[in-house]
């Protein structure tokens, strides 16, 4: 019983982390059609700089973590905006090329991070409470999982509100489909796209800092590992559907936990099989819109 609870809640925590990464990915893909392979790099740089800032100001405390998170969010957003303005924008409506440049960026970025911060993981400190556990139904749940879950819920709510309640949501969806026509209606669509990148990057930045809390380290490969799962989650959930991504995150993470534990460490295989199965049965993913 307690193992079950443990698996479920830690699965939820891992799912939250997946979602934090996937949310930006899904947003950017869904709204701009850009399959952003550089998303992992946004996350990694945010985690590194967040860690650098946090440790300089006050290491291992809540203040330090808050500063890390803030810096991470800012860095994520900034890097994303720079990427959009300097590179993606030049390739508008050429989605394949856009995906390709992001592949290039991710290759270059990981190499650069290795050059700067080395190949070894750098272990991080965090507030004491996060390293402790809370007992629920006999299972000792590590506290950082609660932080992850809370942040993921906040991000989900925030982005959904943004898209529903603001005119930007509309502009962005229309812009994906036919950018020329949006400009021809007198709207500066580029600004909206940059905004999307900023939001996606900020979510990735927060995800990066939280990932370093979850794993206990930062390394040049932090983003690449999470990116694969974020992709899988985004696709299973249905490209462009945030709620889909949220549901898929939890589904994938919990399934992965159970398979790793009960099926001899086959978590990854099971996830991959799930991906293939979902797409073959429902090519649009769980909640994706018709093409």
């Amino acid at each position: 019983m307690d193992t079950l609870v443990l698996l479920l809640i830690t699965g939820l925590g891992l799912g939250a982390l997946y979602f934090l990464v996937a949310s930006g990915l899904s947003l950017i893909y869904g709204l701009m059609g850009v399959l952003n392979f550089a998303h992992g790099a946004f996350l990694t740089i945010a985690a590194f700089l967040g860690w650098e800032a946090g440790r300089r100001i006050s290491d291992g405390t809540w203040t330090g973590l808050a500063i890390s998170a803030l810096v991470g969010i800012l860095v994520g957003a900034t890097v994303a905006v720079l990427t959009e303005v300097l590179i993606i924008r030049r390739l508008y409506e050429r989605h394949i090329e856009q995906a390709l440049v992001t592949v290039g960026i991710s290759l270059a970025a990981v190499a650069l991070f290795e050059g700067i911060w080395g190949t070894d993981p750098i272990y991080t400190d965090r507030p004491a409470w996060l390293t402790q556990t809370t007992e629920i139904l006999g299972a000792r749940i590590p506290n950082d999982r609660f932080l992850l879950i809370a942040c993921a819920v906040l991000v989900l709510g925030g982005i959904v509100l943004f898209l529903r309640r603001t005119r930007y949501g509309l502009i962005i969806r229309a812009g994906v489909e036919n950018r020329h026509m949006v400009t021809a209606l007198g709207i500066d669509v580029r600004r909206s796209f940059t905004l999307v990148f900023a939001i996606g990057g900020a979510a990735a930045g927060l995800g990066g800092v939280l990932a370093s809390v979850y794993y206990g380290y930062v390394s040049a490969h932090l983003g690449s590992v999470l990116l694969i799962f974020a992709f899988i989650v985004t696709v299973i959930g249905g490209l462009g559907s945030l709620t889909g991504a949220a549901i898929a995150s939890v589904l994938v993470a919990v399934l992965q936990q159970f398979a790793n534990f009960y099926l001899g460490g086959t978590g990854d295989l099971v996830v991959v099989v799930l991906l293939a199965a979902v797409l073959l049965i429902r090519p649009r993913g769980l909640m994706g819109k018709a093409a």
């Binding site: 307690d2 193992t3 443990l6 698996l7 830690t10 699965g11 925590g13 891992l14 290795e114 080395g118 190949t119 070894d120 993981p121 272990y123 390293t131 402790q132 556990t133 000792r140 590590p142 979850y214 794993y215 206990g216 380290y217 390394s219 490969h221 590992v225 936990q257 790793n260 534990f261 001899g264 460490g265 086959t266 978590g267 990854d268």
Partner: protein, 371 residues
């Protein structure tokens, strides 16, 4: 093989090809190995870089942690007349290089790569570091008589982890322990449930074989779930970069160790450390592997000249003083018989640092002869 033509060739330099990771995921290990080798070469040739008047012409190549690159570099070196290859930290690459050595009949001195499979893989391949078996056997000495004890191996489901499990089964299982494995998928990121499983197993000893970035999270999970209260936990102490990875668990773990700066206390160790520090490096886990490799190559060239068979003969059964004390190249399978260490981490001003508990005698942890 074309043996060394007598006289005239004697003054010609000997081409040595060193292949290791200078970039890529294992670059840090490569760095320690390189520094150790330079120190060893300096020591073994008295700073001349020559053996009996013949210059050792060392070419360093970066394998980037990639076997394809390594093989290409090896072929290039061999094509240019290299008679001795040495190096690399990844077992997969070491096995590819061993294969090249055999196909082309040259000497190969493997580096820190730990796989047991390298020992005895062919007659051209030697090793300058320790192997998994020696790690495991060291851990076995921590629990007294293993007979009837329950040992759980907690490892990643990789060649390294599987090798460790097999090692424990062979070493401790062979001595009557009941060995059980908890293998975790390499890419798993969540270890809490497994920690729970370790507690439920109610073991007398938990042997952890872990490499890579996820160590920190794994140790946190073991500690949070209370594994240390339920059984003694032993693992290998890695390089300097990992000393801080165990977090609060550090004090609760018994470590087996291949080498850390200051472990041996021998004169040669002092010689090595002096040279390392002059070069701006610190003694680390794999410094000795480089140092030993240099000693072996010098020996091979001194006794064997250009003739690979003579070189092999010079090394087989050779016993010499090195950083860790007396070590022996076993004639039968080229295993390197060497002492190992039991270590604990203590917290000081600069964080956690290793402290020697006991030196384990070389013969006690010697692997069985292959073949």
């Amino acid at each position: 093989s074309g043996g060394g033509d007598a006289d005239g060739a004697d003054a010609a330099p000997v081409a040595i090809g060193m292949i290791t990771s200078e970039t890529g995921p294992l670059a840090a290990y490569g760095e320690a190995y390189v520094a150790g080798f330079e120190a060893g070469l300096d020591y073994a040739t008295d700073g001349t870089g020559e053996v009996d008047g013949r210059e050792l012409e060392i070419t360093w190549e970066d394998d980037q942690g990639n076997p394809d690159t390594a093989v290409a570099k090896a072929k290039d070196l061999i094509g240019q007349g290299t008679k001795v290859l040495a190096g690399t930290v990844a077992s997969g690459i070491a096995l590819s290089l061993a294969e090249q050595a055999e196909q082309n009949e040259i000497l190969y001195v493997s580096g820190p790569a730990a796989a047991d499979a390298i020992t005895g893989v062919n007659e051209y391949t030697f090793r300058s570091g320790r192997q998994t078996y020696q790690d495991v056997a060291t851990a076995g000495t921590f629990i007294g008589d293993p007979a009837g004890k329950k040992v759980v191996v907690f490892a990643q489901d990789t060649a390294f982890g599987q090798g460790n499990l097999a090692g424990v089964e062979a070493v401790l299982g062979g001595q009557g322990a009941d060995v059980q494995g908890v293998l975790v998928a390499e890419d798993a990121t969540e270890f809490t449930p497994f920690a729970q499983q370790l507690i439920d197993a109610d073991a007398d000893l938990v042997f952890v074989a872990w490499a890579g970035a996820s160590s920190g999270a794994m140790w946190t999970a073991l500690q949070q779930q209370g594994v240390f209260e339920s059984a003694p936990v032993v693992t290998g102490l890695g390089d300097v970069a990992t000393y801080q990875a165990y977090g609060d668990a550090s004090g609760d773990i018994s470590f087996l160790n291949h080498y850390f700066g200051g472990a041996a206390g021998t004169d040669i160790e002092d010689e090595m450390i002096t040279r390392l520090e002059e070069a701006g490096a610190v003694p680390d886990l794999f410094s000795v592997d480089g140092f030993v490799a240099a000693q072996m190559i010098v020996q091979a060239v001194r006794e064997g000249g250009d003739d690979v068979d003579a070189m092999i003969e010079a090394l087989e059964g050779w016993t010499f003083e090195s950083v860790k004390g007396e070590v022996t190249v076993r004639a039968e399978d080229h295993a390197l018989i060497q002492p190992m260490y039991q270590v604990r981490l203590v917290e000081g001003a600069d964080g956690w640092a290793p402290e020697l508990i006991e030196t384990i005698d070389a013969e006690t942890v010697a692997p069985p002869v292959v073949g």
